[in-house]
Subunit: 127 residues, 6 copies
């Protein structure tokens, strides 16, 4: 497997999961760290998300959980709540995943995660 | 729904997920904070884990992800890796969930999570 | 003790501590996670804040300390600085609690906590 | 106020709060970072803990809360649970403070904090 | 060495590193915690940054790294990216330091750090 | 550039920085996540550490800083303190980097980092 394949596979996976939001993340790196855009495509999406052994819905549930628990990464949580919906996670499953985090990272982390989900759902309703 | 039902439902759910390890957590609170053992049964397990809307396998995947990402809760990660296996998550799915965290919380968090998984799997093999 | 009592006790305690800000938190959950509003009333306020053994002023000091140290929960820190004032913690005590966190969580966390306190105090002065 | 006073005031305050455990922390810095022992005496204890405006009991409650919530500083939590007891915080108040953190930092952080408290209390009983 | 020297040395060092942004941080503490402005000058800048043994460029690289990894201290990261540039760290070195954090604290922390760097660089270009 | 080159470059870089400790990290992944050992070689070491634009000493200083500040990754901090020494960072520079973290992540994080450094230095003296 050569690097080119990794990049192409990663870009396709990024677009499958994150859609236009993924492209905006890549564009945000223009002029500051273009190589980091390439790494973002290659390692998280080309290597990790492309692995068998855990379905894409479960991967996105795990990411929504972790980003909610970490608490300081709201922009990425927003992208991945939409990403979860894009790959078939239901709104109810997103909300349940975030509520579950109240137990493991506290009520404030869960409340802030729910606020991000509310924003993402409202954007979806407005389209 | 009265409080007694909540407690009983929570205790059953705790035992379904965590098995004997759950009982040991409760016992560890004897003589220091017995009410906290009751809260642990009632809120996380009686309220949250007992909800519909997200299957138990996905709940445990979200918890393994979050505890790996938080990084400072190894004892609970150990209990919940076993809990994930108890409710039908495969070893491969546990490993994939933890590896996914390298992207979101860094390689050290993932490495330490994998070390805990290795320990849990070895205990399972030894039984 | 039945669940209804827990809810009523929690709602009264939430209003005693957080006042209108508490109601706004509950309203923010409308249409996204109404059950979470109920849990928020029942567990933190109906169970924990209602316990004897630690006076309400000390509970709020502990919460201001922890939210300052965690650093990524500014909305909740704002609510709880006001909550601390509501239950009799002085402005000086709030500021001292936050300054104390410079030792345990670093100067940036304390600086950001003081900025939130400044905002809360200014709102109080403007009423 | 000159630096000497700051050091002497800090050392007295450190010993008032932490007792022998404080001396052991200072000794642990021998041969690696002796200046850091001086800073530890001067800034946290000579400057911050010596301030009026918040009583020593409340300061220790805030520290037990923050260290429990941060989760990755068990050695310091141990020292400060003992320190809290040394300045008049009751065992019940320590336990309540840690339990309160389940709401703000999650159940695992509170469980690990209670385990440290149990250890400190047992050492106290054994003396 | 008396306290006055510590304050004067710290203020000079703060201005060397942070320039006007440092003065704005001090001013932000007016009316809320003026003593904290003094501590900020004395301990971080008068004591720590003034030490021999590690050059100022390396100190600022370590701070940009840590603030990126912690993730919840964007205002301070902004000040210290500018501070790093002020003491001779190149833009490339800032970007490389932040990218390095993807490995140790995850891609979201690095992405958010790069967004802050982009903002600081753009302000520099606009002057 | 194909993947094989990335792997070989990464393995060489890992050994340059971490020496035998790097090999032990890779071996620890045998039987649990061998692909993760490959990713660890390829992305952190083959991609990031191999970049120009920031010298290896500064990269290791940034890593020691970040791991000290994060606080919950002691095993990796140990490896990277040794790694820093391996690439020419002095013991004094390691200690100064960790002490600097007292300002940004609190005294407990710095104290625990110094304890790890003391252990690494003692092992070095014993060889």
């Amino acid at each position: 497997m050569n690097t080119q394949n990794r990049y192409e596979r990663g870009l396709a996976k990024l677009r499958e999961i994150d859609g236009e939001a993924g492209d905006r993340v890549l564009e945000s790196l223009d002029g500051i760290a273009p190589d980091f855009a390439r790494y973002l495509i290659e390692f998280p999406f080309g290597d990790i998300y492309s692995r068998p052994g855990l379905d894409l819905k479960s991967r996105e549930i795990s990411v929504v959980a972790a980003l909610t628990a970490l608490g300081h990464v709201a922009p990425q949580l927003k992208v991945h709540i939409q990403g979860a919906l894009n790959v078939g996670v239901t709104r109810t499953e997103v909300v349940e995943t975030i509520m579950q985090m109240a137990v493991y990272a506290g009520f404030p982390a869960a409340l802030n995660g729910l606020a991000v989900a509310k924003e993402v759902f409202a954007q979806g309703d407005g389209e």
